[in-house]
């Protein structure tokens, strides 16, 4: 007898206004396999999965689960046919216990305790079956991200999911945690579960999937057996042209130190110490990459250097000490005047005003500089618009229309607007946080080239990224941060992901060597 696909989508189409997010998509996922879906941001992966999970209704097309045609009007229906979803951003109640979170939404009866007792027994069974050990009475906010993700998976299994969809599951994990997740996924596959893995990381696809589908601009461009393809091949299918996966750069020629940080300490509003005796230095013509799992002090370091977070310690730029009190002499505009440019980690929250037009954003932070003023009172809006048009062409922002509102650009183009603004100031020191987060491969290539080009002009660059690949390929020197401390510095040529991963997890240097 022929095996029926666990999930089959036929001719799925969906559009939002004039934008067609999914065009006539057909895909078959066989039971007991891990199927990867890869594509750039905006390629339509999330829309497709949202249709499968009942968040959106397709304009056209059919869905089959285990060979039966069904309709999925809402997520309850998806759960009903055994589909479970683990979102990129977990949907857990922070101050509930693990058990309460698992039961939430699946309680039976008016009283809670019978449901909880039943869940406790089932959880124990699931834990032994899939080797997913968790403490049912732990409070969510007390446990790590990897563990929280495990609870999301358990939530789906508790609801009898046979098909698990994971949306960018490794974004918040250390390499070790990611390995652990992959072990769990393999175990689930052995038990006959079907897994759909949405990701933009080629390495994950190669490591763990059996089959892979590539999406580009709302269309399914190919479905392949993973072992018959290569990362280069997949990248080309995603972007539609050949892309350079390695960053093309010559060895650094570092000169004098531009940024020197000595004993930097910072406490947040709740009195928690976020930076602990940080010592770093970045020289001209050098990229210092700071690796680490999100939330280990990297953001705070950028905020302190960017002039909007108070700290104690000594920070020198080009030999002179800068003000760390965020007063008028040490705020964002003072920093810019001192030759420090900053591409913040979150372009939509900090780097851009999403309701401002591109030209207004292109002077953000520099709007009081003389070159942007027509006279003592007014800004020179016409000149800024002209200038912006040039910048947009030089940084290949599409569409190059200065009057378009920031929110109407794609992620990669928004990032290019920020980069154009900061790099074209020709700063002595560039702070860059997550330069390629949520940016498509084609744009990543371009952004990396721009950062390397600035280095080659003899500028100092402090790079912060949670993507280890990015740190390894861009940096001339790597520092690892964990819990607000610098765990150690390494040269990219003399280290590897495993060693960095251990440092990122806070394992002491001796253990790493």
């Amino acid at each position: 007898m022929k095996i029926k696909p666990a999930i089959e989508l036929r001719g799925i189409s969906k559009s939002f206004g004039p934008v067609q997010a999914n065009k006539d998509i057909t895909i078959r996922v066989m039971p007991g396999t891990i199927h990867g879906i890869i594509g750039e941001n905006g390629a339509g992966k999330s829309t497709l999965m949202s249709i499968l999970y009942g968040f959106y209704r397709a304009d056209a097309g059919e869905i089959f689960v285990d060979g039966k045609k069904i309709s999925i009007p809402d997520s309850q229906a998806a759960i009903g046919v055994g589909i479970g979803m683990v979102f990129q951003h977990f949907k857990l109640v922070e101050n509930f216990t693990v058990l309460e979170n698992i039961v939430l939404g699946a309680e039976s009866g008016a009283l809670l305790s019978p449901s909880l007792n039943k869940a406790r027994a089932e959880l124990a069974a699931l834990a032994s079956e899939y080797e997913l050990n968790v403490d049912p009475d732990a409070i969510i906010e007390d446990i790590g991200v990897g563990m929280q993700q495990r609870i999301e998976i358990l939530k789906a299994l508790y609801r009898k999911a046979n098909i698990l969809i994971l949306d960018e599951p490794t974004g918040v994990l250390t390499p070790a945690e990611a390995d652990q997740l992959f072990r769990i996924l393999k175990r689930l596959r052995e038990e006959g579960k079907t897994i759909i893995l949405i990701t933009h990381k080629l390495r994950e696809i190669m490591d763990i999937t059996d089959t892979v589908s590539v999406m580009r601009q709302g269309e399914m461009t190919a479905t392949l057996e993973t072992n018959e393809t290569s990362p280069e091949n997949l990248a080309e299918l995603m972007v539609g042209r050949k892309v350079l996966l390695r960053v093309d750069k010559t060895p650094a020629k570092p000169k004098n130190p531009v940024l020197e940080i000595e004993d930097l300490n910072m406490f947040d509003d709740f009195g928690v110490q976020r930076l602990k005796n940080v010592n770093l230095s970045v020289r001209a013509g050098e990229i210092l990459g700071i690796a680490g799992v999100a939330g280990n002090g990297q953001s705070e370091l950028l905020e302190v250097l960017g002039g909007y977070q108070k700290a104690d310690g000594i920070v020198k730029v080009k030999g002179s000490e800068i003000d760390l009190t965020t007063s008028v002499n040490g705020d964002g505009q003072a920093r810019r005047a001192q030759g420090i440019a900053h591409v913040p980690e979150d372009r939509q929250r900090e780097g851009l005003i999403m309701d401002f037009m591109a030209w207004e954003n292109s002077v953000f932070g520099y709007h009081r500089e003389k070159s942007n003023q027509a006279n003592r009172f007014f800004m020179d809006n016409n000149a800024i618009r002209r200038e912006t048009e040039g910048k947009m062409h030089r940084f290949d922002v599409r569409p190059p229309n200065p009057k378009l509102t920031a929110k109407n650009f794609s992620g990669g183009n928004q990032q290019k607007i920020v980069l154009a603004r900061e790099i074209e100031r020709d700063p002595d020191l560039l702070l860059v946080g997550q330069p390629t987060r949520g940016v498509d491969i084609g744009a990543i290539e371009f952004i990396h080239q721009q950062i390397v080009a600035l280095r080659d002009r003899g500028k100092a660059i402090l790079l912060i990224s949670v993507e280890l690949d990015e740190i390894l390929s861009l940096s001339d020197k790597i520092a690892v941060m964990f819990d607000g401390k610098i765990m150690g510095e390494r040269l990219p040529s003399e280290t590897n992901e495993k060693e960095l991963g251990l440092l990122m997890a806070g394992v002491a240097e001796q253990a790493a060597q």
Partner: protein
């Protein structure tokens, strides 16, 4: 995803809201046995086709321009200034002190002095809640509305205990000297022999100051680095912090400009119309300013148009109360409906209109 055309947002949405308010008002008028058509006719005739009507309408409009602009400036910084009423009252106190205690040789100088006094007093009155918001995090909505009550108390105290002329029973200041009296539109039209155009109506030269304030506000918000920072902070606090925009400073400045504009309303009412300081001269204009700013989408041109509309409603409403059996209270209800639909409920109107225009757009693709 694309959005609906801009003109729909700017023109169709407010007009449709207005239409809904008018329709509901018409039903109300029908319900009490009057003819809505006749009522509308009366409002139009009494406002636009009678010489005094014009003058009254523009008098109210002047107030609403000032308070509407004030609320708009605060809106751009994402601050909801509902203390316009109190700021105008204190502004009135500023006008009275300037007009009573400084001997002005001519009204042209007096109006400059009174403007400065009004703006300064309004600015201080808005500055206090602004400071509490910026430094202590006390919510501006709560503090400004409480400051309205304090302002009423302060005004009362000054009128009863300080400014009331000896022997008078009326809680009002003495009349301002004649050299501070502002020319009304009737006086101005009289110069070219058209005094009939604005018969005995209170509209006066402060209307031109209001128009100038529209222009100045436009330049401030869209042309100066300060306006840029106000808008940036209003749109995104974290981004403003990143760019080195100082929130405390911007909150203070935006609110003080807002308070100054509210205060300047008193040039019209106190120096221009009553020519002395009286109780309750603001007549709710501070609150109408919120509706004007919402309907005018915080843009000076929109504010001017909305202020004209509300001037019309105020004057038209007075006509209705005078000539029909429609009770005075119902007119307040009608005005409230317009505020409700154009201000608070504009989003309710917007969503279905947006869907409608999007579906047209999609059909065309």
């Amino acid at each position: 995803m694309d959005v609906m055309p801009k003109w729909v947002d700017i023109i169709v949405v407010p007009l449709f809201s207005l239409f809904l308010a008018a329709a509901l008002s018409a039903l109300l008028i029908l319900a009490i046995g009057e003819s809505p058509i006749a009522a509308l006719n009366l409002m139009i005739e009494g406002t636009l086709f009678r010489s005094a009507g014009w003058g009254y309408m523009l008098y109210y409009t002047t107030n609403f321009i000032f308070t509407g602009l004030a609320v708009s400036v605060a809106f751009h910084a994402a601050l909801f200034n509902i203390g316009g009423e109190g700021q105008a009252m204190i502004g009135g106190l500023g006008v009275a002190l300037v007009c009573l205690f400084i001997p002005w040789p001519h009204w042209t100088l007096a109006i400059v002095g009174a403007s400065i006094g009004a703006a300064l007093f309004g600015m201080i009155w808005a500055g206090l809640p602004a400071y509490l918001q910026a430094k202590r995090g006390s919510h501006i909505v709560i503090t400004t509305i409480m400051f309205n009550f304090i302002a009423a108390g302060v005004l009362n105290f000054f009128l009863v205990d300080v400014l009331k002329p000896a022997g008078s029973m009326d809680p009002a200041s003495a009349n301002f000297p004649a050299s501070t009296h502002l020319p009304t539109f009737q006086d101005i039209a009289g110069i070219i022999g058209f005094e009939k155009a604005f018969r005995s109506a209170p509209a006066n030269v402060s209307f031109f100051i209001a128009l100038f304030a529209c222009l100045a506000t436009w330049y401030l918000i869209w042309r100066t680095p300060l306006g840029y920072e106000i808008r940036a902070l209003g749109k995104s606090g974290p981004a403003a912090r990143y760019a080195g925009v100082r929130p405390v400073k911007i909150i203070m400045i935006a609110m003080m400009i807002s308070g100054a504009l509210c205060g300047m309303m008193a040039i019209n009412t106190t120096q221009g119309e009553s020519e002395r300081l009286i109780l309750n001269f603001t007549e709710g204009a501070g609150f109408i300013g919120i509706a004007v700013a919402l309907m005018g989408r915080s843009h000076p041109v929109g504010v001017l148009l909305a202020a004209l509309l509300f001037g019309f409603l105020y004057q038209g409403g007075a006509e209705l109360a005078l000539w029909t059996k429609i009770p005075r209270e119902l007119i307040v209800v009608i005005q409230a409906l317009v505020i409700l639909f154009t201000g608070a409920l504009s989003l309710m109107v917007r969503a279905p209109l947006e869907r409608f225009f999007m579906s047209i757009q999609r059909a065309r693709v």
